[in-house]
């Protein structure tokens, strides 16, 4: 049931139509000072996806090449943002997308700190701001369509489908062309696995991917602490009550003894 997108970096020509489709489908503003395509492009409240131009070298002869890296929320299998949200404004849906519910959001921005890929952005200029990020077009997925960006990709750099099928396809592609591709599927294990998978002919680190990210699902760290809380709370509470009662009783006895002595 879980849907995913496979990005083949080698196929992207940087046309930017995915970014345009995203803006149109989600009614996002185009801002000249914050382009969604090119070297200076980055994610922000109105750019839910950006296509970053990376100049790098590849092959044995160190040939200079351009690569285009599409960024957006990776929709983790076990999202840190969902785990970190204390009012359930971020929720992971069964079909894959991690969706934001404005009406539940308090605006604490802990999701921004929690995300291992620094995806959630904020409407800093607004009085009543929202968290903004790619939603993976859950409405479109529900109706059996693919996300807007994958729908319009003219080069098949973006493939939408079942998570397990795409993983198989990705593995087959890098094995069958093993001279061309890097032997790594980004998103297979990162942060415990993500719904967006990437394959590339240039090492992911050179493309600006966060390759040192933990392969453990991030919520594991904090939720293991949270699970201890009730037990710690109960034990400590019982201990405190015990100490309190014991000391009060001891004081009462001490006072009685004092009274007795005075009586004598």
């Amino acid at each position: 049931m879980s849907k995913a997108v496979l990005v083949d970096i080698t196929k992207c020509v940087g046309c930017g139509s995915c970014g345009v489709a995203c803006k149109m489908w989600n009614n996002l503003e185009y801002r000249k000072e914050s382009p969604m395509l090119g070297k200076d492009s980055k994610l922000d409240a109105e750019n839910w996806t950006n296509i970053k131009l990376v100049e790098t070298e590849t092959g044995a002869e160190k040939q200079s090449v351009w690569r285009f890296v599409k960024n957006q929320c990776l929709h983790c299998e076990e999202p840190a943002c969902v785990s970190a949200c204390f009012s359930k404004a971020l929720q992971k849906t069964k079909s894959g997308p991690v969706v934001y519910h404005t009406n539940l959001c308090v605006g604490c921005r802990y999701c921004m700190l929690a995300c291992p890929f620094d995806i959630p952005k904020y409407e800093w200029g607004k009085v009543i701001p929202r968290i903004r990020k790619c939603q993976m077009c859950p409405g479109r997925i529900k109706e059996g369509n693919s996300p807007a960006c994958t729908e319009v990709c003219p080069t098949n750099a973006l493939t939408f489908g079942e998570h397990k099928d795409l993983l198989k396809q990705a593995r087959a592609t890098i094995n069958n062309n093993n001279k061309k591709y890097v032997q790594h599927i980004f998103g297979e294990k990162e942060a415990g696995g993500t719904a967006w998978l990437y394959i590339s002919d240039v090492p992911f680190k050179e493309l600006g991917f966060r390759t040192d990210v933990t392969t453990q699902a991030v919520p594991y760290y904090t939720e293991s602490i949270m699970h201890l809380t009730p037990a710690v709370g109960l034990t400590w509470g019982a201990l405190l009550t015990g100490m309190y009662v014991y000391n009060r009783r001891r004081n009462t006895i001490a006072n009685e003894e004092n009274d007795n002595k005075k009586g004598k």
Binding site: F86, Y110, P116, K121, W124, G125, K126, T222, I225, G237
Partner: protein, 386 residues
């Protein structure tokens, strides 16, 4: 003391504090009206800044004097600390009220602040912090009710007195849980927070430091308020109190060093970079020097020694929290964050409000031991007529 007999002395210092509080208050309203963007230097790269780092994370730690004193006096029944219990509770209460205001200012959709009460994001550490801090502030208000009803609403006094034992126990339990959770908040920064600070033991480090900063805060306040009100601090009590802090700091130091070696991060301490130096500053100024003072009887028993110890420990905890929030994150995030003028003025305004509130309550309720109080009132009168 007759009811409705309120007093609040005006002094030049208090006038300045009132001005700062007024400026802060006005800017708080301004922030709620125009939003976070125009009033702070926060950004997508630095979503948490001074209001969370200083007003909340540091504020909660410094307010820890309330629960550690309560534990010693009321639960463990160590009577010699009793004279300072009420002052510690009061500072803690004011501290938490300020933290609540700081938090409220920092959240973007502030009219939604009550959401986590009904929409249970129970996997979040912030959820625990939120519940504990709001419950504990309520508990402290009720605890203060026992003091307040000595002067106003006297007929409620017996009820407050009866529920006090429950409040005291809950009032130690809750801070233990959320002081550690504030550290757990940063456990999620795995791979982001610099290895000198990121550790699975963060919750324990935060808990221990909030406990040992308590006595230092209480001493500092006693010394400061003795200057302001002329009332003599309980030196003997404070000196044995900081000895307890000292033992806790010793354990903290050993645990910290052990943890660094266990995680293979010990080499980073002397790397000579910003992180390493800030870590050294935090540990030497905030832990090691105070420890030397604490376990050298001659130094501990002097007024200057007590003052130095307290100032260093408080500064050390502030530096530690700042290191976790800023220094330790800057390498990963890149760029820079420095609080805007408005962020500073609001934080300063909050502290000014807290100090004014403390002074007002100390003058009007039975916070410091009676006999001393009366003596200092006389000396005050003498000083003011002179």
């Amino acid at each position: 003391m007759a009811a409705k007999n309120w007093s609040f002395r005006m002094t030049p210092t208090r006038a300045v504090l009132m001005a700062l509080a007024a400026i802060g208050g006005a800017l708080m309203v301004y922030r709620l009206v125009v939003g976070l963007g125009p009033t702070t230097n926060l950004s997508d790269e630095w979503p948490w800044g001074m209001w969370i780092g200083f007003d909340v994370l540091t504020g909660v730690a410094l307010a820890g004097g309330g629960y550690s004193t309560c534990l010693l006096v009321n639960i463990m029944g160590i009577k010699k600390f009793a004279p300072i219990a009420r002052a510690a509770l009061l500072t803690s209460l004011i501290g938490y009220l300020l933290v609540m205001v700081g938090l409220f200012l920092d959240i973007g959709r502030w009219f939604n602040f009550w959401r986590p009460f009904v929409s249970w994001g129970h996997t979040s550490i912030l959820f625990e912090v939120f519940w504990c801090v709001s419950l504990y502030t309520t508990v402290q208000l009720l605890e203060f009710g026992e003091i307040a009803t000595e002067k106003v609403g006297k007929r409620w006094h017996n009820i407050f007195k009866k529920i006090l034992p429950v409040l005291l126990i809950v009032g130690v339990l809750l801070p233990t849980l959320h002081q550690s959770s504030l550290g757990s908040l940063y456990v999620i920064e795995v791979g982001k927070l610099y290895p000198l600070w990121w550790s699975l033991l963060l919750p324990i480090f935060f808990l221990m430091s909030s406990f040992f900063v308590g006595p230092a805060m209480v001493s500092l306040e006693s010394l400061l308020s003795s200057r302001a009100t002329g009332h003599k601090p309980e030196y003997n009590v404070l000196q044995s109190l900081i000895k307890i802090a000292g033992y806790m700091m010793l354990v903290y130091l050993v645990l910290k060093i052990g943890d660094l070696f266990y995680r293979g991060a010990a080499g980073l301490v002397f790397a000579g970079n910003l992180e390493g130096n800030m870590f050294l500053l935090e540990m030497i100024a905030g832990i090691i020097i105070p420890l030397i003072i604490c376990f050298t009887p001659k130094l501990r028993n002097s007024k200057a020694g007590l003052a130095t110890f307290s100032v260093l420990v408080v500064a050390g905890v502030i530096i530690n929290r700042m290191n976790v929030v800023f220094t330790g994150m800057s390498d990963y995030i890149g760029g820079s964050y420095f609080p805007s003028a408005i962020e500073w003025l609001v934080s300063i305004g909050l502290v000014a409000m807290g100090v004014l509130g403390y002074l007002f309550i100390v003058e009007n309720f039975n916070i410091v031991p009676k006999e001393h109080h009366e003596v200092h009132e006389e000396t005050d009168a003498v000083r003011h007529t002179a």
